[in-house]
Symmetry: C2
Subunit: 271 residues, 2 copies
């Protein structure tokens, strides 16, 4: 069993304040976390007004955010997944995330499905999530809206992910959230459909008029919620739970079925 954490923290554009991130990671580590998932654009914030603002927030893999993550991962012995604005080698700005283990960047993922005004600020990624064999299981990273495309989740699960770590910023567009936020429903379905753990770190902290669902959650490979979502107004939160990533390698569903083998691939491609 490992301890998994999803940290829901605030971020503000232009402040470059790493304080909430550090505090949340330390709290999670204090609770024994082996894996800590942080939000999309966790430090630099999300609600950009201009491309210049996003570019000013962007950094490369040697920048302060990733350097801090590397240091925290080594010092605390935790695997970290965290979103940031990346200035690529190609000069483009990406909505990206890293998975950091023992002081090293194991993978960098660039969001492939952009939401809202993001195309004004970010270039879309064009590579699927890598599945990283970490000390605690096979982990893949995708970002926010990516999770709402079953095709993307399916190919990631088929590539062998035990757990999908999802930095997110889920804007709140209904007050109050009716029933259960549909983003939460989709995250649970993504887990259950593929028999893969899903960990979403949403954010909090009203920013430039935007509120957030605060829907951070940890879904079992059955789709059931092991932790979260927080309810009501999005507030800082560190969710933790125990889980065994290896159970995700068993795709059976009862004695006669298997959620992967039962696909009718020949029919999906024909029509």
């Amino acid at each position: 069993m490992v301890v998994v954490a999803a940290c829901q923290i605030p971020a503000s554009i232009g402040t470059n304040d790493h304080g909430p991130l550090v505090a949340a990671v330390r709290e999670a580590a204090g609770r024994g976390a082996d894996l800590v998932v942080l939000p999309e654009l966790a430090v630099c914030g999300y609600v950009f007004h201009t491309a210049a603002e996003a570019r000013a927030a962007a950094q490369d893999l040697d920048g302060p955010t990733v350097t801090l993550l590397k240091s925290l991962s080594r010092d605390l012995g935790v695997v970290l997944v965290c979103g940031f604005a990346e200035l690529g080698e190609d000069g483009e700005v990406y909505n990206a995330a890293v998975l950091v283990e023992d002081g090293s960047v194991r993978t960098r993922y660039r969001k492939a499905h952009l939401w809202g005004r993001e195309p004004e600020f970010f270039r879309a990624g064009d590579q699927p999530p890598a599945v990283v064999e970490t000390a605690i299981g096979r982990i893949a990273v995708m970002i926010c809206y990516d999770l709402e495309f079953p095709e993307w989740v399916r190919l990631t699960a088929c590539a062998g992910a035990d757990l999908i770590a999802v930095p997110a910023n889920w804007p709140l567009d209904h007050h109050p959230v009716p029933d259960r936020a549909i983003e939460v429903v989709k995250a649970q379905a993504a887990a259950a459909t593929n028999r893969t753990y899903v960990v979403v770190a949403d954010r909090c902290g009203r920013a430039r008029g935007v509120d957030w669902i605060g829907g951070s959650l940890i879904a079992a490979d059955t789709g059931h919620l092991l932790a979260g979502p927080a309810t009501g107004v999005a507030a800082p939160a560190v969710l933790t739970c125990h889980l065994d990533p290896a159970t995700a390698r068993d795709k059976s569903a009862g004695p006669h079925n298997d959620v992967m083998d039962d696909r009718r691939l020949e029919l999906y491609q024909q029509f």
Copy 2:
């Protein structure tokens, strides 16, 4: 706006009792239903022990169940979707469903994803759901476990379905159902992911030791529940609600996004 109904009724093997079906359809019609969805294998029952038993229950499109559905659809002015055991022209037995409008079978669908011991009793279908242009909107039919394959739902939505009618028999394997039954979560996600209405008619009535979730529901094209699911032990129920099928033709998600256009098809096929 149209009135849609999901009827949760019991069925017993060998009795050939159409009474619960007729009563439920009449109740729904009495509430103004334009579309009535009934369970999988709605009259003949589900829990077969042998292939001979399933074959004995099977009938062709001129058999008593479909003949009754045709008559009810004409007499009551309702579109009916109902599951039955079909004896095909090829001599095979299928877990099938028909959509009947104004006395005519508009489409017959054969379940493509078989659950549990069904492969002992039924041949799997190999055709996607047809999208039928009815007087009340574009309706497609799939059966139970089919709905848990996002690929199948996606291709049906892409073919133009406003509403997917899903006869189901959801066996209960957890007592009590933890949180929300994951079949319900998947149905909601299927609707939201494709911006398509989803109507599930589950069954009730303990049969040969099997209980049922009783999760009949009507999900809006946002994924939110318009009716159901019933809670607790599965009991007879006629769920109804008003909805406008045509709203499902708008796939936009906020001012900048579209759940279909935002797919990165070139990436899904590459990996």
